[in-house]
């Protein structure tokens, strides 16, 4: 049985870039970091022009690890060079997507890697202030990060005139208060400003009008943690680790009904079937696979027939799903997909910020409908109604949370419609007794 306290189980198939220092004793300390190439990339970056840094990141094909997969170098290049306003770098450490727990280990085992990435990003866009916005539940990581930041200040990697470059950069942590929505970039900015975590109307985009109305880049923890490696070894080297347009490696979080749940660093484009069978040790208890959520609960689900796919952004988009945040959730043959849909919708109905009508009312409707359908008996029209309601949410909300709720729902209603029909025919759940354990 797996050791649940350590998610880094390891696999010979891993390609370790971000996690290369994880096995070292005291890996979070600045001494260990510096002894193992730490802050070398920063030195190198200071020898480059800011534009050259951005170009190197563009070349690397580093795509955002927060979910949307937007090209990081491109995002940085949207920040205006000429402006009288201050600029900001914000690291999104709100990690709340169900099935996702990779930023946590990146901050726990190698906080300086993130700090170095942030300072390089700051240099690239000529910002002098960064923030790490951490979800409230990651309290203990705040302590680790604050200690690391203190060390970095003490040794001159943060603060005034860093490494004699003449470049100043300050960094602070800020905690959320337990809202999934605060991971959405503009809601995060509001929350960081001390306002309620509602998203903002876009455009304007944060690159132009972000934190306190100033140009801001927001990147996921993992995205930024990659930056030192790209600068040290070059964008081309990084790009070649993955597939075309999908540079580097990625931390995949395997969970659910799998033998070896854990976090594995694998190259972009790693085949999903191999990930489940060889890295994760296959579906647990020798059960058959029913369904895979490939990138966090917001992604359309895949059936067992759809797992011959390389795990990169474009390949998953091609089959109508998403690589998302790297949370790969395995569901076995005994899973009731109606209940799974209800559980997912319960999350979104709880986390909807309540700002816009379709998401606020739609997620609540779907949640209560599914709850009744599963426990109190369904009506023949329910699946069609649920599908229609989901489509009425999709693409019509202010922020992507509405889509994130609708997409898995639509895929389940379409791909597992027969399970809804079975419930209707039986008048009860056919899986209730068969399930080994419902996570």
């Amino acid at each position: 049985m797996a050791d649940y306290r350590n998610p880094m189980l390891g696999s010979p198939l891993e390609v370790k870039v971000l996690t290369r220092r994880f096995d070292l004793a005291n890996s979070a300390s600045i001494a260990v970091y510096v002894a193992h190439e730490g802050y070398q990339a920063l030195k190198k970056a200071f020898g480059m022009k800011p534009d050259e840094v951005i170009n190197e990141v563009k070349k690397s094909n580093l795509r955002g690890r927060g979910g949307a997969g937007f090209n990081a170098g491109m995002k940085w290049s949207f920040v205006p060079g000429q402006t009288t306003k201050p600029k900001y770098v914000v690291s999104n450490a709100d990690e709340s997507e169900p099935g996702t727990c990779k930023d946590r280990v990146l901050m726990e085992y190698d906080p300086h890697q993130l700090i170095e990435g942030i300072v390089i990003a700051g240099y690239a866009i000529q910002s002098h202030q960064g923030y790490i916005y951490i979800r409230g539940e990651y309290r203990y990581l705040m302590d680790i990060l604050d200690r690391a930041i203190e060390e970095a200040y003490a040794q001159g990697y943060l603060g005034k005139n860093i490494l004699g470059s003449g470049f100043d950069f300050d960094l602070a942590t800020h905690t959320g208060a337990g809202a999934y929505e605060c991971g959405e970039e503009t809601a995060l900015l509001n929350s960081l400003e001390g306002l309620r975590g509602y998203p903002r109307v876009k455009p304007p985009f944060p690159a132009l009008i972000g934190l306190y109305g100033c140009p801001t880049i927001i990147n996921n923890v993992e995205t930024l943690s990659n930056v030192p490696h790209i600068i040290s070894h070059g964008g081309d080297w990084y790009a070649k680790l993955g597939t075309p347009n999908n540079g580097g490696t990625r931390l995949f979080c395997l969970s659910g009904h799998i033998e070896r749940p854990g976090i594995y660093e694998l190259p972009m484009g790693f085949p999903l079937r191999q990930m489940i069978e060889d890295v994760g040790g296959g579906v647990w208890h020798g059960k058959k696979l029913k369904c895979v959520i490939p990138g966090g609960s917001s992604c359309p689900v895949l059936t067992a027939d759809e797992i011959d796919v390389p795990m990169d952004f474009d390949s998953l988009a091609r089959i109508g799903s998403m690589l998302g945040s790297g949370g790969v959730v395995i569901l076995d043959e005994d899973t009731c997909m109606v209940k799974a849909a209800w559980r997912i919708m319960k999350f979104y109905a709880h986390e909807s910020c309540g700002w816009c009508v379709p998401c606020r009312e739609g997620t609540h409707w779907l949640k209560t409908l599914l709850e009744r359908f599963h426990s109190d008996g369904g009506m023949p029209d329910d699946p069609d109604t649920a599908l229609d309601v989901s489509y009425n949410i999709l693409g019509k909300t202010l922020c992507p949370l509405g889509d994130a709720a609708a997409m898995p729902m639509i895929s389940i209603l379409k791909k597992f419609r027969h399970e809804f029909e079975e419930h209707l025919k039986l008048g009860s759940c056919p899986y209730e007794k068969r399930a080994v354990n419902v996570a």
Partner: protein, 743 residues
């Protein structure tokens, strides 16, 4: 001027200025895009998603309320996808909506009902239990019903952005989100009720209107608020001869949707149980009910006796700050020509006379600022006064000017007034230092070192900043009067552009009282009584003599009574005993004290004759706001037993044997238009509800003494005597806060 933007909406070509929102562009070609959260003038939300439309080359539907038009944009609002989206947004809104329309105040004028009627589905597919929350009482005036709320956040924004009060926030999350007061369980705010008015549904309801009627069972009459001097248009809703609501229903006029707590709730004195319904005549030391005929005949007989025995110098008249221009005009005609006295005055709350004289002498009578000039100003200088309390509409328009187009507000005040939050420069001077600051700004006298906290440097900075502005609107309170008004005008006119001026006076017709000559030394239209030509002009119009010597001002009238020289005092719509703090003995020398009033005030209590006057809701006529804009009052209802001051004056004149031929207030108005300088205004504009600016020109005598002009410093919740008879104004906790409290 930037090039206009050309686009097409549903095949119609549209040309609009750059920066226009798509929803507004559509409006211009008559295409309605439904919306709930969008509200012109308030920040954009993108929350209700009702306004989603199709734009070619965009992958998803876009919200018309947040999309700025671009050249060549091709928009469709009439596709099946758009129609289905509207239907589904309404379906979502109705999932947890109680649909208690039959008992909802808003039924019949509800934006949700209307939208469902037009764009919604006929049936529901939502089979689950609805979320429920008990109704909450936010204050005696504001109630909140969460199930009806569609979370459009208009209430939050109007309170924050419009009122700068920020009383509301959002509690909880997702489908359980609700509007909550920001400071504790109860509202703590200006109680203006803007939130109730702006709520598209029946979620926020009014403590005075709720459950009283269906909106179609009411008659609506547009009239003017009778409290402060700003002159907000309002619509009185009357059912069975009882006023039950006031709101500016069509958002027309100089206040748009704005009304303060007094305008929205403080009209209820009209319905008060304590209204006088019958004349009172003092018999054997006690006031007893009498008939109108009895009371008026007694008055006239007593007046005749006094006049015969002591001459016209023994009779004085005090007018009102709230009666109409027509009534004021007739009152001074009555005093001067029937009683033969110029001993007529009123409680002056601003020195309008000095402003008129200064502008006339400078040849600048085109420089009276209107309310619209204030909201459109790029630069504002406010000296003295606390408009948040004394002039809520003007405070609102100043905030609008600052928020909507970045106007700079400069303040000179001895108090920390709330508007300082909007100011670019705020010069706090020592108590009563406003006039000194003006004299220093005008270069008339150097400022003392202790005038303002930061030394006189701040004053210089203010002067420098003003010199860089143009078209500044200068507003001043009673702190500036007499010669200082002159200094201010002279100095103001040297500033770049067209400087304009407003003198801030307290009540609904304070300005009109001065304009109509309720003054001992000034004829209507600020013509000095000493000017023979002006006098003769009126004499020939009235076919009567006007005594040439100026009369007593209000302070001298009180002195004359004490000295036993004045034997009869007629008071119309004023409460001098309270306003001037007269002691009990002050009026005992009178042989006749006649009071026309709504209530048995301190002054009425002392009278021999009290007659019940009609309130503003019960009469027609015109009033002039503090900016000099004339607007029409319209009779809304009758109050049995009462008569308007106009009717009272006509009856008194008749009993004096006068053959006045006025049949209606309008007849008097026609005469005012013909005779009063500055009042040659177009009658049709007035009758369609416009605010018509006046440009008085005249050289009235200088202010006789400094204690004639003073403001009552009413708060948001007081309005002289009237507010004491308002349940609503006294029902809110905020009314008990110290004066000047800012929310």
């Amino acid at each position: 001027m930037a090039e206009p933007i050309k686009l097409s909406i549903d095949g119609k070509p549209v040309t609009v200025p750059p920066g226009t929102l798509l929803i507004e562009a559509a409006k211009q070609v008559g295409i309605e895009v439904p919306s709930f959260c969008y509200y012109p003038g308030l920040s954009l939300q993108g929350a209700c998603r009702m306004c989603l439309v199709a734009i070619e080359k965009m992958p998803k539907l876009q919200t018309a309320c947040t999309t700025v038009v671009t050249n060549g944009m091709v928009v469709h609002t009439d596709t099946p996808e758009v129609a289905n989206t509207r239907k589904s947004m309404l379906e979502f809104l109705l999932t947890n909506h109680p649909l208690d329309c039959p008992v909802c105040d808003k039924g019949g004028e509800c934006e949700l009902q209307d939208a469902v009627f037009r764009y919604g589905a006929a049936e529901t597919r939502f089979l689950e239990g609805k979320l429920h929350e008990e109704e909450k009482k936010f204050s005696n005036l504001v109630y909140y019903d969460r199930p009806r709320c569609i979370l459009c956040f208009r209430c939050i924004r109007v309170c924050d952005e419009g009122m700068d009060v920020n009383a509301y926030g959002i509690g909880f999350r997702a489908a359980h989100s609700e509007i909550i007061p920001n400071r504790g369980e109860q509202l703590e705010c200006e109680e203006c009720g803007m939130c109730i008015d702006i709520c598209p549904v029946g979620a926020l309801t009014s403590g005075t209107y709720r459950y009283k009627t269906r909106p179609w069972e009411v008659t609506y009459t547009g009239t003017i608020c009778n409290h402060c001097g700003d002159g907000c248009r309002t619509t009185l809703s009357v059912r069975n001869n009882v006023v039950i609501r006031a709101n500016n229903r069509d958002h027309s006029g100089l206040n748009g949707e704005f009304l303060c707590v007094k305008g929205r709730f403080g009209w209820d004195f009209v319905n008060s149980e304590r209204r006088l319904k019958s004349p009172l005549l003092r018999k054997n030391g006690k006031q007893e009910e009498a008939s109108w005929e009895e009371a008026l005949t007694f008055t006239v007989e007593r007046l005749k006796t006094i006049l015969a025995e002591h001459g016209p110098g023994a009779v004085a008249v005090i007018g009102s700050n709230r009666t109409t221009n027509e009534e004021d005009y007739l009152l001074q005609r009555f005093a001067r020509t029937v009683l033969g006295t110029n001993d007529i005055d009123h409680h002056r709350t601003a020195d309008f006379s000095s402003l008129v004289r200064a502008l006339t002498e400078a040849g600048a009578t085109d420089r009276y600022a209107t309310i619209e000039d204030i909201s459109a100003a790029k630069s504002l200088l406010l000296i003295g006064n606390d408009p948040t309390h004394q002039h809520p509409l003007i405070a609102y328009q100043i905030r609008q000017a600052v928020r909507q187009h970045g106007a700079r507000l400069y303040i000179v005040n001895s108090r920390e007034i709330k508007l300082r939050r909007q100011s670019s420069q705020y010069l706090q001077v020592k108590p009563q230092g406003e006039a000194e600051a003006v004299r220093a700004l005008a270069g008339q006298a150097p400022a003392a070192q202790d005038l303002c906290a930061g030394g006189t440097g701040a004053l210089t900075a203010l002067a420098d900043a003003l010199k860089k502005e143009s078209d500044t609107v200068i507003l001043f309170g009673d702190e500036i009067q007499g010669q200082t008004v002159n200094d201010l005008v002279t100095c103001g006119l040297t500033l770049p552009g067209k400087t304009r001026f407003v003198a801030l006076g307290d009540y609904a017709n304070s300005r009109g009282a001065a304009d109509m000559g309720l003054l001992p030394d000034t004829l209507p239209g600020y013509q000095p009584l000493s000017n023979e030509k002006a006098r003769e002009r009126m004499e020939s119009a009235w076919a009567a003599k006007i005594p040439a010597a100026p009369g007593r001002n209000i302070r001298s009238i009180f002195e004359g009574i004490r000295a036993g020289e004045i034997k009869a005092l007629l008071v119309f719509g004023a409460n001098p005993v309270k306003t001037f703090g007269l002691d009990n003995a002050a009026l005992t020398g009178l042989q006749l004290l006649f009071v026309a009033e709504l209530f048995r005030t301190e002054t009425a209590e002392l009278a021999n004759v009290v007659v019940p006057a009609a309130s503003f809701a019960e009469k027609s006529g015109t009033v002039t706001n503090t900016c000099g804009e004339v607007q029409a009052l319209k009779r809304t209802m009758r109050q049995a037993g009462t008569r308007s001051d106009l009717e009272i004056l006509l009856a008194l004149a008749r009993l004096f044997g006068q053959r006045w031929t006025y049949q209606s207030p309008e007849d008097v108005l026609r005469e005012i238009i013909a005779l009063v300088p500055g009042y040659d205004i177009p009658l049709p504009s007035l009758l369609v509800g416009r605010a018509v600016p006046t440009h008085p020109e005249g050289r009235p005598p200088a202010l006789e003494r400094p204690d004639l002009v003073f403001s009552s410093r009413d708060s948001l919740f007081t309005s002289g005597t009237l507010s004491r008879y308002s349940w609503a104004l006294n029902s809110v906790d905020e009314a008990k806060k110290p004066y000047g409290h800012a929310f």
